[in-house]
């Protein structure tokens, strides 16, 4: 039984848009709640029905493997969480988009992530460069709008412009790289390329390598790997917070799926492998060092999370550089899952705190341990997990990555990884220090969060702790 899950999500988005335009009086939050319910239904349906494109394409551009399926669920979960964040964040959006009626502009704010979700799901299954390109553009273009969404806010506009320019640049790299690869192999499908690679004359391997390098640059932009990370801090800081979370989790994860598929296809040629693995290792090392060192002096929470997202891209790239080890794929997927849970939890606490304080500096967290003990505890767990403390899921993610890297004898990367983990302890614990060591300001307003946010935060905390001690259910389930 097959089930075109992407089209269902796309239809949901279109219906939401129609509802928003034909029934302007509808409560926008109800719209978002409905979307959450439907996305949850689709998520449940993927466990019983085989997702497929509407038309059959054996060995073609659409891969229906376990990895793709896993990331479709990943995209659905992160979209649901983004919508939860967006509902909590709605008052801020309303403030920056003054309209004739209450809730103006909120409809699209809740709808755009749904379209992005469809793009992410196509990306998860894309096995052809043309398909990869189209899915990537669907995702990226919907993100351009979301990042610049609060059009009366200069920071948001600036972030949107930066993201647009650098995103367009990376698209250019991607298309140019695909052209070179197509020119040398005559194929755009990843399977076709890996069959043809063995027959390509040695003389044209340099050209393929050049093309592959360009594709890696483009994907480096998407996953925020150094030295293609310049856009990250400004865009993350300026974008509306739910969009930042969505961008840093789902967009990065989809980038990694594509990266894994592309790297996998090109590894068959030993000559390419000998060049590709050191290049990935170099990217990983640079990203680790840059992300972690640059995070140290940050005082703004969103910027801190931006640099932390670069740092985590570094650990994930260590996993990608260890492909070839049977454990690497599983390690990356587990790490991404851990990253999803802990990053969304951090953003989930950030939104009510910054709404109360009117900013998102780390000092706005001062004394949160006394002002809102529950929220502070959730943030504590999120930070410890991001830092990689045992008994949290973040530790197991790092453990699997290091194990895979040591199997492949990437000792330099592992040492870099360990030293940067120690840096991580410093900057994540800065938030803990603010919450527990520092006294609260006298006039600190109360931190209020909706029941849905509280429930989701409690759920994510439980998930972090349970998976940190007993990851077996998830590990059995991984592709």
């Amino acid at each position: 039984m097959s089930f075109p899950v992407e089209f269902c999500v796309l239809s949901l988005g279109i219906l939401m848009l129609l509802a928003d335009s034909f029934f302007p009086s509808i409560n926008k939050r109800t719209l978002a709640h409905t979307a959450i319910v439907w996305l949850a239904v689709f998520l449940a349906a993927t466990f019983f029905l085989q997702p497929s494109p509407l038309w059959a394409s054996p060995g073609g551009f659409y891969e229906t493997d376990a990895l793709g399926l896993f990331f479709k669920r990943f995209a659905l979960v992160s979209t649901i969480l983004t919508l939860v964040l967006a509902i909590e964040y709605a008052p801020v959006v309303e403030r920056f988009i003054p309209g004739s009626r209450p809730g103006a502009g909120l409809g699209e704010f809740f709808t755009l992530p749904v379209f992005t979700c469809a793009g992410l799901m196509w990306m998860a299954s894309a096995a052809d460069f043309v398909m990869i390109f189209c899915a990537l553009e669907l995702v990226t273009i919907s993100f351009y709008i979301q990042v610049a969404y609060m059009r009366r806010n200069m920071a948001s506009l600036e972030a949107g412009t930066k993201y647009l320019i650098l995103g367009a640049l990376s698209t250019g790299f991607l298309v140019y790289g695909i052209t070179w690869i197509f020119g040398m192999t005559g194929q755009t499908g990843l399977r076709g390329i890996s069959t043809v690679l063995g027959m390509v004359p040695v003389a044209s391997q340099t050209a393929i390598l050049f093309g592959l390098g360009l594709v890696l640059v483009a994907l480096g932009f998407k996953v925020a790997a150094a030295p293609f990370q310049f856009w990250v801090p400004d865009v993350y800081q300026g974008a509306p917070t739910p969009v930042t979370a969505f961008l840093s989790v789902a967009s990065k994860a989809a980038g990694f799926v594509v990266l894994m598929r592309v790297v996998d296809a090109f590894l068959v040629a030993p000559a390419l492998q000998a060049k590709l693995v050191p290049a990935l290792g170099f990217l990983a090392g640079l990203t680790l060092v840059y992300g972690n060192l640059a995070a140290l002096p940050q005082t703004n929470m969103k910027r801190l999370l931006a640099y932390s997202s670069i740092a985590h891209a570094g650990y994930l790239l260590v996993g990608v550089a260890s492909v070839g080890s049977p454990a690497a794929g599983r390690a990356i997927v587990f790490y991404l899952l851990a990253y999803l849970v802990m990053t969304f939890l951090a953003f989930l606490v950030l939104i009510p705190v910054s709404k109360a304080a009117g900013g998102d500096e780390i000092s706005d967290f001062n004394g949160l341990g006394r002002r809102a003990p529950g929220m502070a505890f959730a943030m504590l767990i999120a930070m410890l997990s991001l830092a990689g403390l045992p008994f949290t899921v973040g530790f197991l993610g790092k453990f699997f990555i290091f194990e895979a890297a040591m199997r492949q004898q990437h000792f330099v990367l592992v040492v870099l990884g360990v030293v940067t983990v120690a840096c991580g302890f410093y900057y994540y614990l800065k938030v803990v220090r603010a919450m527990y060591w520092q006294p609260a300001p006298e006039d600190a307003p109360p931190v209020l969060a909706s029941p849905l946010t509280r429930f989701t935060a409690a759920f994510l905390v439980t998930l972090i702790l349970i998976l940190g001690v007993y990851p077996k259910p998830i590990l059995d389930f991984l592709p």
Binding site: G369, L389, W437
Partner: protein, 496 residues
């Protein structure tokens, strides 16, 4: 439920009760006393000389494909450490002064540290052995950072980052230990790995041993990775310093004795010179640094770093006598330093200063206090009658006979005698006993004797739970000092 899992859950449940708002101090006291009683019962039930070294074993598979399971078990050595941990926890809670700000978090943190150390010492699976140790990292950070004194923020950062780095180096060592096992048999189960090492299935693992040595070394404040320790202990509130210096820090040495000694004996011998230099650094260099301290808390912090050198010597010599001595010293040092930090905290509480120049003559207003401090200081030096003496003696005997004897006859017929490196290190260590006598007795004299400053004439005597707890620690040291056989028998059964 398995008894050891229950033991670990007791402080965790106590912490949960404290966090939801029960009487913090009372709950912590009851919880820690319950674990002490429970450990005593387990020790009584432990069958010495049985075929199975590990008893009370229970196992819960977590990631079976990687040989990771929550396997708990205890043999003689781990029981000794569990005794130490639960004893010091009770004392730490007893002497704790309930802070004004956030008392619930304070006692819950103490309970978390307790759960972490109990879990680490009761774990047979290396993965959980590691995990449980880390459970104590964040409570320590919070305890020093929130309720510490002096430059507490810097101390908390430094200690936390050092310990995080050390533990990740250790993690690499453990992953390496996992990966050198033959494919298909890989596991984190310690007895299984030792079995493989005995059967000769493990290749040479020099670099893994070095990773373990540096990782554990940072955690134990092995010279030159020791600078975090004195600062952290000087700033920490007394219960945190007691638990950390007394128990948590022992984790690293316990790990080396447990893992490195049986699995990599060749590597230990091969790198013995490196370790000997570092441990002599602990004893002599840090020893002289200790003498020069002008404040009691810093002096105690450095002295706890210095004493680790003896235990490292026992480990480096790698024979039954020296390892038994090292194990005894883990216990002895844990209790004596806990008593000293408790007393030091009481002095800070009363006078607000720990500067030797400002203190003096305190034995006049507080004779019982002075007596307790005297006993604790003498126990720390390792005078006969205290269990530390037995430990030091065994370590020195064991290490003096370690290594190849450099004796023979020259071509001219002259008898040639040269000390080998172990013997030189042992001689340095014996000199270290003199050093520790110097700084301990000087501190004792400067704080408790000499002219009494008028400011201190009205000081109140030590009383209540703190007095009972510290006296109990000293009684334990005296009893086991006169009958060290009690503990040695326990250690023997774990076949070092």
């Amino acid at each position: 439920m398995s008894p050891l899992l229950f033991l670990i859950l007791v402080p965790l449940v106590a912490a949960a009760f404290i966090m939801v708002g029960s009487n913090a101090r009372l709950t912590a006291l009851v919880g820690s006393a319950a674990s002490l009683v429970f450990v005593l019962v387990l020790t009584a039930l432990y069958r010495q000389g049985s075929e199975q070294p590990y008893q009370f074993v229970s196992s819960l598979p977590v990631i079976p494909s990687m040989g990771i399971s929550l396997t708990l078990g205890a043999d003689g050595l781990s029981l000794l450490m569990l005794l130490l941990a639960s004893l010091v926890t009770v004392a730490a809670v007893a002497v704790a002064k309930t802070p004004e700000k956030n008392p619930h978090l304070f006692y819950a943190s103490l309970m978390f540290i307790s759960a972490g150390v109990l879990g680490a010492f009761a774990s047979v699976n290396l993965f959980f052995f590691y995990m449980f140790h880390e459970l104590a990292l964040i409570p320590t950070f919070l305890l020093i950072g929130i309720w510490g004194s002096g430059d507490r923020q810097a101390a908390a950062w430094k200690a936390t980052i050092y310990l995080a780095l050390g533990s990740f180096v250790l993690l690499l060592g453990l992953i390496g230990l996992y990966l050198i096992q033959p494919d298909g048999m890989r596991t984190f189960d310690l007895p299984a790995i030792i079995g493989m090492a005995d059967a000769g299935l493990l290749p040479e693992g020099n670099w893994i041993y070095l990773l373990l040595l540096v990782g554990f070394g940072i955690l134990v404040s092995l010279f030159p990775f020791h600078t975090w320790a004195p600062q952290a202990y000087a700033s920490a509130p007394a219960p945190a310093a007691m638990l950390h210096a007394g128990v948590l820090k022992k984790f690293g040495l316990y790990g080396l004795i447990r893992i490195a000694a049986p699995i990599f004996p060749d590597a230990v011998v091969q790198f013995s010179n490196l370790l000997l230099v570092m441990l002599v650094g602990n004893i002599l260099y840090v020893g002289y640094v200790t003498i020069s301290q002008r404040k009691l808390d810093w002096m105690l912090g450095y002295s706890s770093v210095m004493h680790m050198g003896y235990i490292f010597l026992g480990f480096a010599a790698l024979n039954t006598v020296s390892l038994t001595g090292a194990s005894l010293m883990l216990f002895a040092h844990g209790i004596s330093i806990a008593a000293l930090f408790a007393l030091c905290g009481e002095i800070r509480e009363r006078t607000g200063t720990l500067d030797f120049a400002e203190l003096g003559g305190l034995a006049k207003p507080m004779p019982a206090f002075g007596l307790l401090f005297g006993f604790a200081a003498m126990a720390a030096i390792g005078l006969p009658g205290f269990v530390g003496f037995a430990g030091e003696l065994l370590v020195f005997f064991g290490s003096f006979v370690a290594g190849e004897p450099l004796m023979g006859v020259t071509a001219g017929g002259k008898e040639l005698f040269q000390f080998n490196n172990y013997q030189i290190a042992t001689i340095c260590a014996v000199w270290g006993v003199v050093i520790s006598a110097v700084y301990m007795l000087r501190a004792y004299r400067r704080v408790f004797f000499g002219p009494l400053n008028d400011r201190w004439s009205g000081l109140g005597e030590i009383s209540g739970p703190a007095r009972i707890a510290i006296a109990a620690l000293i009684v334990v040291m005296l009893v086991t000092g006169f009958f060290p056989g009690l503990l040695v028998k326990l250690i023997e059964s774990s076949a070092l």
